[in-house]
C-alpha cells in the first residue's frame, strides 16, 4: 500500500500509525480485488495516490454479469422507489462531504474546485432523484393514429451500459452520467477516471450504503486501453457512454470502440468532458439511455348510440 500525503502528515503529527486503505473495485455490491492480482499506482504531481486495482477482462466480465442480473429487477422497481434510492445516495454523499473534498484535493483539485465538485455532485443526485418518477411523463406520448387503435410510446431502459468516466472530473463526471443512466432502470459498469480513480471508489462506498441494489452500479479501475476492446465487443452490453478526448490517442481509442460496438449495435453516446455547467444536467441524458417502445391495441367501437357495425 502506498502512502498518501495525508497519511504521511498524520503520521508526523500524531505519531500514530494510520490504517491505510486498500482500494478495491465494486462489483455486484461487493468490494473484490481484481482477480488478476495486478495493480497500478496513479500519480498526481509526482505523488502516488495509492495502489488501485488494474481490472482485467475477467473483472469486466464479472461486472457485466452482475449488472445484467440486476437489471430486470432494478427496472421493475417503481420510479418512486428508484427516486428514493437516488435521494439516499445524495444523503450518503452529503455525509461524506469532507472525505470527498479531501480526496479531490489529493487528486489535484484546489480546495475551491473540490468543494464545488462535491456540492454539484450531491445536487445532481438530488436532481436525478426527482426525475425517476417524472421523465416518463415528459418523454412518452399517446399517438393519434388514424385507425381504430390506442397507440402509445414510452421509454424503457436500454439494459446494461458501460460508462467510461470523465478523466478530469473524477467525481462529478462519474455521477453526471451514472445517475441519468440508472434513473430509468439501466444498470451500469463504470471505468473510473484512470488517473484519478480515488473518488470513484469512495463513491461506491456511499452507493453501497444507499439501498442501491447490488449490481446496479459497478466500478472498475484500470487502463482504458487494456479494457476498451473487451467492453466494446462484449455482446451483453447494450450501450456505451463516453467522454470525448482531446488527444490523438484518445480519438483512436474512441474510433476502435465505435467499430467494435457495431457487432451488436451498441448505442454509443459521446459527451464533452466538462460536466460543471448546470445545463449538463437534464432529462435528455436519461432518454439517451432508453429505447422508445410503441404499443398498439384496438379500440372497440361502440358508443352510447350503439355499434356502427
Amino acid at each position: 500500500m502506498a502512502k498518501t500525503n495525508k497519511t504521511r502528515s498524520a503520521q508526523l503529527e500524531n505519531q500514530r500509525l494510520p490504517v491505510l486503505k486498500t482500494y478495491k473495485m465494486f462489483i455486484g455490491g461487493t468490494f473484490p480485488r481484481t482477480e488478476s492480482g495486478r495493480y497500478y499506482a496513479p500519480k498526481v504531481k509526482g505523488q502516488s495516490l495509492g495502489n488501485f486495482c488494474l481490472a482485467s477482462r475477467k473483472d469486466l466480465r464479472n461486472s457485466v454479469v452482475a449488472a445484467r442480473s440486476a437489471q430486470p429487477g432494478w427496472a421493475a422497481r417503481s420510479g418512486y422507489n428508484r427516486s428514493q434510492i437516488l435521494y439516499r445516495m445524495a444523503e450518503m454523499l452529503e455525509g461524506r462531504h469532507g472525505q470527498m473534498v479531501d480526496e479531490l484535493r489529493l487528486q489535484g483539485a484546489t480546495n475551491r474546485q473540490a468543494i464545488s465538485e462535491v456540492n454539484l455532485s450531491i445536487e445532481r443526485a438530488v436532481y436525478y432523484a426527482g426525475w425517476c418518477d417524472k421523465f416518463q411523463q415528459v418523454f412518452s406520448s399517446v399517438n393519434p393514429v388514424a385507425s381504430q387503435h390506442f397507440n402509445f410510446s414510452l421509454l424503457e431502459p436500454t439494459g446494461v451500459v458501460f460508462h467510461v468516466a470523465s478523466e478530469n472530473q473524477p467525481l462529478l463526471g462519474l455521477v453526471s452520467l451514472v445517475l441519468p443512466i440508472i434513473a430509468s432502470g439501466n444498470t451500469v459498469v463504470c471505468l473510473a477516471s484512470e488517473n484519478k480513480p480515488m473518488s470513484a471508489i469512495s463513491l461506491t462506498e456511499a452507493i453501497a450504503t444507499s439501498d442501491v441494489p447490488a449490481g446496479v452500479v459497478n466500478v472498475l479501475t484500470g487502463h482504458l486501453d487494456e479494457l476498451s476492446a473487451h467492453f466494446s465487443s462484449h455482446l451483453d452490453i447494450n450501450s456505451i457512454a463516453l467522454n470525448r478526448f482531446n488527444s490523438k490517442q484518445g480519438n483512436r481509442t474512441v474510433r476502435s470502440i465505435r467499430e467494435q460496438a457495431v457487432e451488436n449495435l451498441k448505442r454509443v453516446k459521446e459527451y464533452d468532458q466538462n460536466w460543471t455547467p448546470t445545463n449538463r444536467q437534464n432529462p435528455y441524458l436519461i432518454a439517451d439511455f432508453c429505447e422508445v417502445k410503441t404499443t398498439w391495441h384496438p379500440i372497440e367501437k361502440i358508443s352510447a348510440a350503439g355499434s356502427p357495425y
Binding site: V145, A146, N151, V292, T294, W296
Partner: protein
C-alpha cells in the same frame, strides 16, 4: 335444391389497367431540381418480378454523380432550405403530400409493376401511407421547439438516406418527410430493384417546386449507397435494410462518428394465448407474415401458440392460407404477389429447404403459380424449436415458423431469445396479461391483438440489433435535429 348446382365460384382475374402509367424508357438522376445524365454511361434494366419483363432503364450513378448530388444538397441547405421560414418549409411538404394523393393510382401501379407487391397493398397501404407521412411531418416544420422543450432544435445539414426495396415509396416518405420538416436537405438512394416510384417522387418534387437541391435522388446498386454514406460532406446517415449492411455502414462511420439511424432486420415473435380472440389472432398471424410476401422487417415470422389451442390454431391458419391467392400482382384479387428479385427468391428457397432438412414440418397450399417471374407459396413450418435456424435467422419471405409454449414465463423467455428486437405481437383477451406481455417483450413496436399496423404518428424502430433511432411520430424528429 334448385340451381345453381355448381358451387365452385372462381373469381375471375381483375387486372388493374396500366393505361394511366407514364413510364419513360430510361431515367436519369434527380439532382439540383433537374433530371440529369450521369457522368458515366452505365445503365441497367429494372424488371417486373412477376414476369421478368423489362420496364425501364435506370442509371448507375458514379462517385462523381454522388458528389454532385451532395453538393447540390449542401448548397440548397446553406442558401435556402435551412434559412427558409419553417412554416414555408411546411407548405412545400404539404404540397408533396397532396401531389402524391393526386397521382396515387399511377404510383400504386408502378410500385406493383416494379416491386411485385399486390396492387391491393400498394393501392390501400403503401401509397396512402406515404402521402400521410408527408402530410404529418409537414405540420411539424414550424412546431419543432414544442417537441423538445428547453432545447434549441437545429437541422443537421445534408442527410444521406439509403432505403430498401420492400416499401419503396413508403420508405422514401419515411426518410424524406421528417428530414425536410426539420430543415435538412436530402440525398436519397432507392434500392436498385425498385427505383421507379422514387423517380416519380422526384417528378412530384419538381411539380411541388421545391428549391433545387432540397431533395436529390440518385440510383444504382450497393456501391452507390456506400459512396453516398461515406461522402465527407453529409451530416447524417439514415439507412433501412438488412442488419448485415447496416452494420457495415455503422463500421464505416466509426472514424467520423457521424449521426446515424438504422432500421434493420427482425425476427418477431407473435404470441397466441389460449384465451385470445382466436379467429382475429389467426388473421393477425396471416397478415403478420404474408403481408408483402413477408418482405417486411417487422414480419411476425415466429409464431408461438399456447399448446392447448395449438391444433385449432394450426387448422385455422391452414384454412386461411388456402384462401390466399398467389399470382399476378396487378390482379386486384391477388393476396400474395411476386418475390422482389431472383436473388431474394433463392434466399427464401434455401431457408425452406433448410427448414425441411432441420426436421420441421412444411405446409404450403395447393395453388398454381405463373410460369415466369419469381414466386413463393405462403409457407408454414410446424414442429419448430428455438434451436432451428429458421426460427433464429431473418428470412424476409412468406415463411412462418411455429412453436408451442405452456406458460407466460416460458414464452417471454423464448420471444426475447433473439438478437433482434424490432417488433412483437401478443394475442389475449386479458388486459392485465397484455400489459405484462407488452412491457416484458424487448421490441420497439408491440402489437397487442393486432399486427402490422402503421401510422405516421406512431414511432417505429428497434431494440438490440434491429437498429437504433425511431421513425414516425414526435420521436422520429429527434433523428434529424441537433438538440443543444
Amino acid at each position: 335444391m334448385n340451381q345453381p348446382t355448381d358451387n365452385h365460384w372462381p373469381l375471375t382475374e381483375a387486372l388493374e389497367s396500366r393505361e394511366s402509367i407514364r413510364l419513360a424508357k430510361s431515367y436519369g438522376l434527380f439532382v439540383n431540381g433537374q433530371f440529369i445524365r450521369s457522368s458515366g454511361s452505365k445503365k441497367y434494366w429494372t424488371i417486373n418480378p412477376a414476369n421478368e419483363k423489362r420496364l425501364s432503364r435506370i442509371t448507375e450513378s458514379t462517385p462523381k454523380d454522388v458528389d454532385r448530388a451532395v453538393r447540390a444538397a449542401r448548397n440548397c441547405y446553406e442558401k435556402h432550405w435551412s434559412r427558409m421560414k419553417p412554416s414555408e418549409r411546411g407548405k412545400y411538404i404539404y404540397r408533396i403530400a397532396r401531389l402524391i394523393q393526386e397521382q396515387s393510382r399511377e404510383l400504386a401501379i408502378l410500385e406493383t409493376l416494379d416491386g411485385g407487391k399486390p396492387i391491393r397493398e400498394s393501392r390501400d397501404i403503401d401509397i396512402p401511407l406515404a402521402a400521410a407521412h408527408f402530410f404529418y411531418y409537414a405540420g411539424w416544420a414550424d412546431k419543432l421547439k414544442y417537441a423538445f422543450p428547453n432545447r434549441n432544435p437545429r437541422p443537421l445539414g445534408v442527410a444521406a438516406q439509403v432505403i430498401p426495396w420492400n416499401f419503396p415509396l413508403l420508405m422514401a416518405a419515411w426518410k424524406i418527410a421528417p428530414a425536410l420538416a426539420c430543415g435538412n436537405t436530402v440525398v436519397l438512394k432507392p434500392a436498385e430493384t425498385t427505383s421507379l416510384t422514387a423517380l416519380k417522387l422526384a417528378e412530384i418534387i419538381q411539380q411541388a417546386d421545391l428549391p433545387a437541391g432540397a431533395v436529390n435522388i440518385i440510383t444504382g446498386h450497393g456501391p452507390v449507397g456506400q459512396s453516398l454514406i461515406q461522402h465527407p460532406d453529409v451530416d447524417k446517415i439514415a439507412f433501412t435494410g438488412s442488419t448485415h449492411v447496416g452494420k457495415s455502414i455503422q463500421t464505416a462511420l466509426a472514424t467520423s462518428g457521424k449521426r446515424s439511424t438504422l432500421e434493420l432486420g427482425g425476427k418477431a415473435a407473435n404470441i397466441i394465448f389460449a384465451d385470445a380472440p382466436i379467429d382475429q389472432a389467426v388473421e393477425g398471424v396471416v397478415n403478420g407474415i404474408y403481408f408483402n410476401q413477408g418482405h417486411v422487417c417487422c414480419a411476425g415470422s415466429r409464431l408461438f401458440v399456447e399448446e392447448s389451442v395449438y391444433d385449432q390454431v394450426i387448422e385455422k391458419i391452414k384454412d386461411r392460407i388456402d384462401t390466399l391467392r398467389v399470382g399476378e400482382p396487378l390482379d386486384k384479387n391477388t393476396d400474395i404477389g411476386a418475390i422482389n428479385s431472383k436473388k431474394q427468391l433463392a434466399i427464401i428457397d434455401q431457408y425452406i429447404e433448410l427448414g425441411t432438412a432441420e426436421g420441421a414440418h412444411l405446409y404450403q397450399p395447393d395453388c398454381p403459380l405463373p410460369d415466369s417471374g419469381f414466386w413463393c407459396l405462403p409457407t408454414m413450418f410446424t414442429d419448430v424449436s428455438q434451436s432451428n435456424r429458421i426460427s433464429r435467422e431473418e428470412i424476409f419471405g412468406p415463411v412462418l415458423a411455429v412453436q408451442t409454449f405452456r406458460t407466460v414465463a416460458e414464452v417471454i423467455k423464448k420471444a426475447n431469445n433473439t438478437r433482434y428486437g424490432l417488433s412483437a405481437g401478443v394475442w389475449t383477451n386479458k388486459g392485465s396479461k397484455i400489459f405484462n406481455m407488452t412491457s416484458q417483450l424487448k421490441a420497439g413496436v408491440i402489437w397487442a391483438n393486432t399486427y402490422n399496423q402503421f401510422d405516421p404518428a406512431s414511432p417505429f424502430g428497434g431494440y438490440k440489433e434491429s437498429g437504433f433511432g425511431r421513425e414516425g411520430g414526435l420521436h422520429g424528429l429527434a433523428a434529424y435535429l441537433a438538440l443543444k
